[in-house]
């Protein structure tokens, strides 16, 4: 088992006919992902990559039985695409779109609170269960089916971690990016819960960075629930350039100070194994598992 997706996950793509979507969905199909169609308003009835295109998510779902959507819609209409998919009660959305207005995401997040849909992203590289399913834009040549769950706020650092866990012969059960935007769907805590419950996952790697309070919330969760599996954490940005600010920054940071040092301290005190360098994440996980 992986979390959220497996070999039977049926995937549609919103914004299917765009250049980026075409490039990445072709690769997803080649990887073995069950892509069953796409949604592009006004292009219903056509074929793309040999698959049916629908005008609406609801039509696509009823015709294909899809249970996940890869969202490659441009920023101005991305929120609308997500809301449509939530309305159609799709269980899983993966949004790779960058630069979505934050207040659009506030509206999407509000709808998610009383829906049965999970959202990964936006501004996410996606999710992959090695050898079974890949939804997103990550390269897939380094992933190997294995026992580490990876959840990350940074796409580029995820590649490093995947490479290291593959080299250490640990492999990955599932690897996903929760995205780098201020308001987003699934967080570290949601993913930790799923990884802890997943028998295939033996350890979890959490990759964080400065800003927000996702790492502090993860630490709080780890403190409250005795972690059944080792958790390794790396947080980037100890020496980040100071943000130039207009307002009184204390207010902006008050819900989690947002600094890397505080995040590392919180995770450490919650029992996470801290990797000091991005090059040591795989080794730190290996040592934690050997204990």
């Amino acid at each position: 088992m992986a979390i959220l997706i497996d070999q039977d996950t049926k995937v549609i793509c919103q914004g299917f006919t765009g250049a980026q979507a075409t490039y990445h969905m072709e690769r997803a199909i080649a990887y073995g992902t069950q892509v069953v169609g796409g949604v592009v308003p006004g292009k219903g009835g056509r074929k793309h990559l040999g698959l049916p295109v629908f005008d609406t998510v609801a039509e696509a779902v009823s015709a294909t039985g899809a249970d996940a959507s890869a969202i490659f819609v441009p920023p101005a209409s991305a929120a609308g695409a997500m809301l449509e998919a939530i309305e159609a009660e799709l269980p899983l959305l993966v949004c790779v779109t960058e630069r979505i207005p934050v207040l659009d995401m506030v509206r999407v997040k509000r709808r998610l609170t009383d829906a049965n849909t999970r959202l990964i992203g936006p501004n996410s590289q996606g999710i992959i269960a090695p050898g079974r399913c890949k939804i997103g834009v990550m390269p897939a040549h380094l992933e190997r089916k294995g026992k580490i769950g990876i959840v990350s706020r940074s796409a580029s650092l995820t590649s490093e971690v995947v490479e290291q866990t593959t080299a250490a012969r640990l492999g990955q059960s599932t690897s996903l990016g929760i995205g780098g935007d201020p308001v987003y769907g699934m967080g570290f805590v949601d993913c930790l819960e799923l990884f802890f419950a997943d028998p295939e996952t033996h350890g979890v790697i959490l990759v964080g960075e400065i800003g927000g309070s996702a790492e502090e919330e993860a630490a709080k969760f780890l403190k409250a629930h005795a972690a059944p599996k080792p958790v390794t954490a790396y947080v980037a940005g100890l020496h980040a350039p100071k943000e130039r600010r207009m307002g009184h920054a204390g207010t902006v940071n008050v819900f989690g100070k947002g600094g890397a040092a505080e995040k590392i301290e919180a995770l450490k005190s919650a029992g996470a194994h801290i990797a000091v360098s991005p090059a040591d994440i795989g080794d730190t996980m290996r040592r934690a598992l050997a204990r």
């Binding site: 506030v106 990759v207 207010t251």
Partner: protein
């Protein structure tokens, strides 16, 4: 995107936020005229720069005659104002906002922002406003009150009144505060703001609430639907190199060190800088190449790094991924190096998609490169090259 106080006030006045009258001027003579036309016996002359904490730095001055407004404006205009938020270079004052002075009994703090942990807009308030907020907020963040707003419901009346009460505002003042909160929330949504801040919001001697200062930061990602607000952009407030980097769609922040850094992805860039600092290196910049970057954008960005006279070594750390490929980066770097005829030591770590091809391209085009296999090796080499004096 940051707005000036006078721009923020012009926008917020339309939402019914109470404030005193003012005029933005660019010459001392206009300042005197403004004071006269505004009337009254006392005025504030306020430097318009994109930074807070102006008061302590002498950027907000009280005057009691139009003549004094003129001389004060003459001192401020063209001067460089340094506040804890401007950086050591300060910011040049190009205009001053002349405003009728307000006598007040109390000052409180009120702001609206996106509360990341709630994923919603929140109103933030404190009993004490003014520049001093920075002194206590770090130690005692619990003194900041927060009201998270449900986007389906808007500002809840009872919760807003309760917040006002916590600020020590009762009856008519509490109702005024609630109206201000509602107007601020509406403006926040209409304008696609990421911050609206009144510091301070004062209770004047007549007992009415007034916004003495106002700040707005707009969400850059939403400007596509606000062409009218785009016109308020003040490019003089942005570092020229950063402006140029923006043309190449690169995330770039200039830093004080001597090692130029180019990385793909913000997380990897942050961790590269962390490693550099841990090894005693000093980054000259933070440059994050977006996945969709083209050869020409990378060449442009790399050219910016080479143009920085402080740079004694350049470190490139690229992990080729789903979209960005190492060969695209190599082509861009090669083009920039040839154009600049650079002698600066160049350390490249190119892993992931087409990493080997990137090496071949750089070697094939005769660019002198010290290659590294891992981040740690690349960082070591860059720190040593910079210490050896680079070119």
């Amino acid at each position: 995107m940051n707005l000036h106080e006078h721009q923020a006030k012009a926008l917020l006045r339309d939402y019914g936020i109470p404030m005193t009258d003012g005029v933005n001027v660019e010459t001392p003579a206009q300042a005197a005229l403004a004071a006269e036309s505004l009337g009254g016996g006392a005025w504030a002359v306020k430097a318009q720069i994109h930074a807070g904490l102006r008061q302590k730095a002498g950027g907000v001055r009280m005057v009691s005659s139009p003549e004094e407004a003129r001389t004060t404006a003459a001192e401020l205009l063209g001067s460089s104002l340094v506040t804890p938020q401007t950086g050591p270079g300060g910011k040049t004052v190009k205009s001053v906002y002349v405003e009728r002075a307000v006598g007040y009994a109390r000052e409180v703090y009120l702001a609206a922002l996106v509360d990341r942990s709630a994923g919603r807009v929140a109103l933030i308030a404190a009993q004490e406003g003014g520049d001093n907020i920075e002194d206590w907020v770090e130690e005692d963040p619990a003194r900041l009150l927060r009201l998270v707003v449900d986007p389906d419901e808007g500002v809840d009346r009872d919760a807003g009144l309760a917040l006002a009460k916590c600020l020590g505002l009762e009856d008519a003042q509490a109702k005024q505060a609630l109206e201000i909160m509602m107007a601020t929330y509406k403006a926040f949504n209409d304008l696609d703001a990421s911050l609206i801040e009144f510091n301070p919001l004062v209770v004047n001697t007549a007992g009415d609430l007034l916004a003495l200062d106002a700040k707005i930061v707009l969400d850059d990602n939403a400007l596509f639907r606000h062409q009218d607000l785009e016109a308020l952009r003040d490019e003089d407030e942005v570092d020229p190199t950063e402006l140029e980097a923006k043309r190449f769609e690169l995330n770039y922040v200039k830093l004080a060190g001597n090692i130029g850094v180019m990385v793909n992805g913000a997380g990897l860039a942050l961790s590269t800088i962390d490693l550099l600092k841990a090894q005693g290196g000093e980054p000259a910049d933070f440059m994050d190449v977006r996945p969709e970057a083209t050869r020409d954008q990378i060449a442009g960005g790399f050219g910016l790094l080479l143009k920085n006279p402080k740079v004694e070594a350049v470190l490139v750390n690229i992990y080729g991924g789903g979209i960005l490929r190492c060969d695209t980066v190599a082509e861009g770097i090669a083009a920039a190096c040839r154009q600049a005829d650079s002698k600066v030591p160049l350390i490249v770590r190119a892993a992931g998609t087409n990493g080997d091809l990137a090496r071949k391209i750089l070697v094939g085009q005769g660019i002198s490169v010290d290659f590294a296999d891992t981040v740690s090796e690349a960082v070591d080499k860059a720190v040593r090259a910079a210490k050896a004096g680079g070119r």
